[in-house]
């Protein structure tokens, strides 16, 4: 039991939290502006694939990471065009993009690596360089920036305005379209960055490696009541639960039971402690300009 408090356990929890936190913060940008971004799952996956491919061909993890971010932005751009410009249903677009990402990564993996399931080994990040794990550091910085941007800057105010009451924002001369685009694109970049971490930490790409993390990130954001700090707290909770399932396999409790814990925890937290969460008023509603 004393293992719980060891530094190893803490670091492991933080490592596991990274791929939840980045897309979760991305979701904050997107949803504060009024666009539900279920496509984060696909963004995470494409980001991981692009980062693996980029790193494999250049041998440089920074270029690889940039590729991951770019891939995330591309998927987010499609989502923006479909949902903001063409005002299609945001959930449907997100799901379609997730399915697309799942297929397209398989397709390119086959072309580039001769297998639709696995990439070659790539150089990556040695996580034990901690506490200076660059991604962890990046996470803390991005969390700070996000908190500041959403609450203290003009862009943050506009983002919240177009998410709460786009008509009012529009009448004040704010371009709803532009602000929403920006919110979704930032979420794509952060999701792609999260994907890059997955690939670089593992030193390869595996088919479907996002494994539902994009959805969990969204859930974390909701548990965190659409706030960056709340989302971070919820992500940490998920990281903690997962780390727990890894550490306590040897305790004689059946594996199946231990692996159930994170989900039970989610339900308890959602139902018991959080209470009612209010999304931005115009979240999920396309903005139709009335002349």
């Amino acid at each position: 039991m004393e293992e719980l408090l060891t530094i190893t356990f803490v670091l492991q929890t933080l490592r596991i939290t990274i791929p939840y936190l980045l897309p979760s913060l991305g979701a904050v940008y997107s949803e504060k502006g009024g666009v539900v971004n279920i496509a984060l799952e696909g963004i995470l996956l494409s980001g991981a694939f692009a980062a693996a491919a980029g790193t494999f061909y250049t041998g440089n993890i920074i270029v690889g990471t940039a590729c991951g971010i770019l891939a995330g932005i591309i998927i987010a751009l499609i989502h923006s065009i479909v949902t903001i410009t063409f005002k299609a249903n945001q959930i449907v677009s997100g799901i379609a993009l997730n399915i697309l990402a799942f297929g397209i990564t398989k397709f390119f993996c086959k072309i580039l690596f001769g297998s639709s399931s696995n990439s070659e080994r790539i150089p990556g990040i040695e996580t034990l360089d901690l506490p200076f794990n660059p991604f962890l550091l990046l996470c803390v910085i991005i969390l700070g920036i996000t908190y500041f941007t959403i609450n203290k800057t003009r862009f943050g105010l506009r983002l919240r305005a177009v998410g709460e009451n786009p008509q009012a924002a529009d009448s004040l001369g704010i371009s709803v379209t532009k602000v929403r685009y920006l919110g979704v694109l930032i979420s794509g970049a952060l999701g792609g960055l999260g994907g890059a971490w997955l690939a670089l930490d593992q030193h390869s790409y595996t088919d479907g490696m996002s494994a539902g993390r994009g959805y969990i990130a969204l859930a974390a954001m909701i548990i965190g009541k659409w706030n960056p700090m709340g989302a971070a707290g919820a992500c940490l909770l998920f990281g903690l639960a997962e780390s727990f399932t890894l550490q306590f396999q040897d305790s004689g409790i059946p594996t199946q039971f231990i692996q159930m814990l994170p989900y039970v925890l989610t339900i308890i937290v959602l139902a018991g402690f959080i209470g009612k969460a209010n999304p931005p008023a115009a979240d999920g509603v396309p903005y139709e300009k009335k002349d």
Partner: protein, 339 residues
């Protein structure tokens, strides 16, 4: 506008679905024997189980002049669909299912297509059910190989603590675990063994991120050698070994090249040979189904890897002891637990 978007979305969907399918090639009339193979979870490039099966295909292509096609199925029902897709093709005569997870599907499909020939690697033999006459079950005595690598780990550990990382928590992988533990205890009764599983579904065989975290946890607890039986997930175990400068033991194929210097040995299953032999039998007309073909230590169907690349990591006196154990297993002097 709505219609346009619906059109675009359905197009995207259609594109995705087709991209999961496989290269559909035109009917060949060359008269060559054609083999269809469906991979296990993890797929090609796992450097382990599936890649071993692929080597068997390649060898058959070169030496027997056959042609082959393969499918890396997605989750769940895709496996049966893949088997069915091959079975309904006129040009394909033999179909392989790679992995225990195919047991039920391949039995069912073999009964539906009595004209085709089937083989299943790691088929779970159930004495109460008969194997269809057109299906050969390929079974490996992985407990014998695992016992040997367990003995190697037990003899080489300096911390007196070794680890095991399994993929899906299932009877097959439990067999690896239990026999490995028995091997460790056989040479080192005081040795401690830590055990971790990546999950309870087939996806647990393709989760290197989790494999790495499990292994890091065990290494941090003082383990110095980890044996994995977890498909692609094991690649994460090797990453952990590299980072912590500790050791690992590979599985199914000789995995030395995945982390040279960190992989003491591998529990090798000759999946490639078994695939090749079945194809050869079909080609020569000696294929006989409805039976179990067993590969064990005796016929070198399972073994531990000992090559120029890794022999510096296994001292001669350890090798000598392990060879004695090998003979004892073959002679039946040691009974190995399997569950």
């Amino acid at each position: 506008m709505k219609t346009t978007i619906n059109l675009i979305l359905s197009f995207i969907l259609a594109l995705t679905i087709t991209s999961c399918g496989k290269k559909e090639n035109t009917e060949n009339n060359t008269g060559k024997l054609k083999v269809g193979l469906v991979f296990d979870v993890g797929g090609r490039g796992d450097k382990s189980f599936n890649d071993a099966a692929y080597r068997g295909l390649e060898k058959a292509k070169q030496e027997l002049g056959i042609e082959f096609e393969y499918i890396e199925p997605g989750p769940g029902a895709d496996r049966e669909a893949a088997l069915r897709q091959f079975s309904s093709r006129k040009d394909i005569a033999v179909i392989f299912g790679i992995g225990f997870i195919f047991t039920d599907e391949i039995t069912k499909i073999a009964q539906e297509f009595p004209d085709k020939k089937y083989a299943c690697v790691d088929y779970t033999v159930d004495p109460s059910k008969t194997i269809p006459p057109n299906l050969v079950a390929l079974e490996f005595k992985e407990e014998e190989g695992s016992f040997l690598v367990g003995a190697i780990a037990g003899l080489l550990t300096k911390s007196n603590k070794v680890g095991f990382v399994g993929g899906m928590d299932s009877p097959l992988i439990k067999k690896f675990q239990v026999s490995y533990e028995a091997g460790v205890k056989h040479v080192n009764p005081g040795g401690q063994i830590l055990v971790g599983y990546a999950g309870v579904t087939g996806d647990a065989f393709k989760n290197p991120g989790r494999g790495k975290e499990l292994a890091l946890g065990q290494y941090n607890d003082g383990v110095d050698i980890i044996y994995h039986a977890s498909g692609v997930t094991g690649l994460g175990v090797f990453e952990a070994a590299r980072e912590m400068k500790k050791f690992a033991i590979g599985v199914d194929s000789d995995q030395n090249d995945e982390a040279p210097g960190y992989i003491i040995t591998s529990m090798v299953k000759v999946v490639d040979v078994s695939v090749f032999e079945v194809i050869k039998e079909v080609k020569e007309g000696t294929f006989k189904g409805g039976r179990v073909e067993t590969f064990g230590l005796k016929t070198k169907g399972v073994d531990y890897a000992y090559t120029d690349k890794n022999k510096h990591m296994i001292p001669d006196e350890v090798k000598a002891k392990v060879e004695v154990i090998r003979q004892d297993i073959i002679d039946g002097k040691i009974t190995i637990p399997t569950k």
